[in-house]
Structure formats: C-alpha cells, structure tokens
C-alpha cells in the first residue's frame, strides 16, 4: 500500500466513523464499529438535550428520525448541537408539522443566529423573525431576545 499522508489517513478514519466509509487497513473493525456507534449516540443525545422541543415532539421516534437525518447530514462545524438541531428541525419540517414549542425554539435561534453552510453564527445585529403558532392561533415576532405576540381575532373551530 502506498504511504498516505496523515491528513488522508485521518480523513479515511473520520469517514469510517461517521459516514460508513470502509475500515482503513490495520484497524480493528469491531472497535471502529463500537466507536462509530458511540459517536452516533453522542450526537443524538446532544441534540435531544439542546432541543427539548424536538425530543418532546418526536417522543419514542426521536432516535430513529434522528438517525435518518444524521445519515444524510454531516455535523455542522459551528454551533454544536444547537446548529445540528436547527438543521434537524428543517429535516423534520419537510415531512411533519413542527409543534408550536419547536417553532418557538427555532424562532429564538433564528433571531440570534445566522444559519450558514458551516452551522450557526451569532448575528452582530439581531434579526426580526416570525413564527405562526397554530394551536395558539397567534403569530410571534422575535427580535433578538424580545418577543411580541399577535393573537388572531378568529376563534378556532366553529
């Protein structure tokens, strides 16, 4: 086997641990698989802790839904579990209606952070963002740390 640079060897190892890349030569496949499981568990657990609204919304489906997301979405470089959870929320929103609590949490993040390819970056100037809360029939505006709620005059039901 030709000599690989340290950068290439490390990249192959990270791919094996996070993206189902092949086991690099000389490594114990059982141990790498245990380490890959530990990494996946840690990632899911961190997002569940940082996004209690998503954990509550998904309940027992959290792990499975998160695994489906993690299989297609690498970990963001910036913002840790908060950023990972923000992307996870978008992933879920393509298939399900987010709960009002999840919308509120996403709103709070969006008002303070910019979402980029690399993850979440803190905004220098707070942004104005809005979320529609269906069950509470209201629109919430967020500006930095501030919140304003506009209640719909229409009553739910008939």
């Amino acid at each position: 086997m030709p000599e690989m640079s340290l950068a290439d060897q490390q990249a192959a190892l990270v791919a094996a641990l996070t993206a189902e890349g092949p086991v690099p030569a000389g490594f114990d496949p059982t141990r790498l698989s245990a380490a890959a499981d530990a990494l996946a568990f840690k990632r899911a657990r961190s997002v569940a802790n940082a996004w209690p609204s998503l954990r509550a919304m998904l309940g027992g489906d959290f792990r499975e839904t998160f695994a489906a997301y993690a299989a297609v979405a690498p970990l963001p470089a910036h913002g840790g579990a908060l950023a990972d959870g923000r992307r996870f929320a978008r992933f879920i929103a393509r298939q399900l209606d987010l709960s009002d609590d999840a919308r509120m949490q996403a709103l709070a993040i969006d008002a303070r952070y910019r979402e980029t390819e690399a993850g979440l970056l803190r905004r220098r100037v707070p942004a104005l963002r809005a979320a529609w809360l269906r069950n509470r029939r209201s629109v919430v505006l967020a500006f930095g740390e501030h919140r304003y709620r506009l209640q719909s005059p229409l009553r739910p039901g008939r």
């Binding site: 030569a25 245990a34 690498p74």
Partner: protein, 283 residues
C-alpha cells in the same frame, strides 16, 4: 510552575446551584465552545469568580492533533475567553476532531508515530503563540487504536510536553478507560509521565457497555478504580487541582457532594487556599 487550584468541577448550567452552594470549590472549567460567541460569561460564573474561584477555559474543538494548523478563529476565541475570565490556564486535548472537511463530533486518537508527533508539536506551538496563558494538554479515552504505533501513549505525551513546554491535564478516567479497553497497566503509564508537569487532574464516571467495553460517559458515578488511581497519583505527587467532569444524567446534589467529598479526601484537601475577607475574620 503551576498555580494551586484545589477541588474543582466542570461548570454546567444544570450544576450551577450545587456548585454555588459548595464553599470549598477552588476552580471550575468553562467549556469554551459553549461560551465563546457570548459577550460575557454567565452571571453565575462571574459570581464564582468574585468569590475567588479560578476559571480554567477547556476547549474540545481545536483539533491539535489534526494534520492542519489549528483554526485561527477558534484559537482567538479561546484566547479572548481566557482573558475575559482571567483564566490561569487553557486546556485542550491530544486528539483530532475533524478531517477531510468532516466534523467527527468527538475526540479521536492520533497515530503514535514520529510523523504525528512532529505535527502535534507544531500545532501546540502555534496555539501557545496565541494563547495569553499556559496551555495544558489532556490524554483522551479511545475505543480503538491506530496500527503500527512507534511508542507508548505515555512516551508520546512526555515527548510532546518536553518539546513544547506545555503542561499536562491528566485525565484518570481516560487512563482507566484505555487501560480497561486495551489491556494496559495504568500504573506503568503513571510511571512514565512527568509528574511535575501536571497542571491538574480530571476524574469522571463511565460504564461497561453491552459490547464489553468501558465507555467514558461523564454521565455515571466516578467508579472505584478511578478513585483508586487518584489515590495513587496523590501518593506520588500533590496535584495542584483535581476536577470532576459530569455532562449528563445530572445527579442529586447529595450524590454530587459525596463524589466531591471523596475526591477531596483522596487529595487530603481542606478547602481553597485564599485570603479570607476581613469581615469573615471578625465574625
């Protein structure tokens, strides 16, 4: 060569109250990545600082063992945070966390080769050039090893410290985990590291998984063998500080206090070494 720190605990919002109520805590660690985009550290941390508690900045994402030089932005953020909290030290890991554009989300081990050693030394020096305070390097826990090691972990660490002048953050939980998972003698490791370079010591909990491996979880009680290693190191030297790390499944205050008591007893610790305020002397 290093400042006295005493009994320590990793600061987490969930533990803030328990830490505040514990008068003998001499130092805490602040997880750098959680706070480096904030304008100021949490109020509870500022209150501890006003009480004389030292704050060590602890990073997990610098990737000092990566093939690339450490990221300038992360390094400057660490330096800024260290200045903001007047940290006596910054600590980071002998590990890499990303490669090929992918974040692993965890601390991964290095090949113990001369080539990797040279790269770590280069990266540590680059970090030291930016950080305003001494850097302490931590030994990590790993479930797997690289093939074709050219030296033992203790030899690798000792040489990095020797060539960079960095201090050691000796993690006994990680040492225990590696000893268990790779059938090594932890005492042999302690024989070979430079004890006079220890800035402080980490202890933490873990569990044995269904796979038979010991997992360094920071979510369980500190097990007896780790406390045993703490007793061993305290019989060989007097560490400047010993810190408990707890990141998940937070225990009741009474349970946490019992763990802190056990650590204090092992290090024969009788409270923080600092001048009492005048009002207290007359009380």
């Amino acid at each position: 060569m290093s400042r006295h720190l005493g009994l320590g605990i990793g600061w987490r919002p969930e533990l803030a109250l328990a830490i505040e109520q514990r008068a003998d805590v001499g130092f805490i660690e602040l997880l750098a990545e959680d706070f480096w985009s904030d304008r100021a550290p949490p109020v509870a941390v500022e209150q501890l600082r006003s009480r004389g508690v030292a704050v060590v900045v602890h990073g997990v994402s610098l990737s000092l063992g990566g093939a690339d030089l450490p990221d300038r932005d992360r390094l400057h953020a660490l330096a800024r945070l260290a200045r903001n909290v007047d940290a006596p030290l910054v600590s980071e890991h002998l590990a890499f966390v990303r490669a090929g554009g992918i974040e692993s989300g965890h601390l991964l081990p290095l090949p113990r080769t001369r080539e990797a050693l040279d790269i770590v030394v280069r990266n540590v020096r680059a970090a030291q050039a930016v950080l305003p305070v001494p850097l302490a390097l931590e030994n990590i826990a790993t479930l797997f090893e690289w093939p074709r090691a050219e030296m033992s972990e203790a030899e690798f660490i000792a040489e990095v410290l020797e060539r960079t002048g960095a201090l050691l953050l000796l993690d006994l939980a990680n040492l225990h985990a590696n000893a268990r998972n790779h059938a090594l003698d932890p005492l042999e490791f302690l024989d070979r590291i430079p004890l006079d370079r220890i800035a402080y010591v980490h202890v933490a909990g873990g569990f044995t998984g269904a796979d038979g491996l010991y997992h360094d979880s920071h979510a369980h009680a500190v097990p007896a063998p780790v406390l045993g290693l703490l007793g061993e190191i305290c019989s060989r030297t007097a560490p400047h500080g010993v810190l408990i790390e707890r990141d998940d499944r937070f225990p009741l205050d009474a349970v946490l206090n019992a763990e802190l008591d056990a650590v204090a007893a092992a290090m024969n610790y009788r409270g923080p070494r600092r001048a009492a305020p005048a009002a207290m002397l007359h009380a």
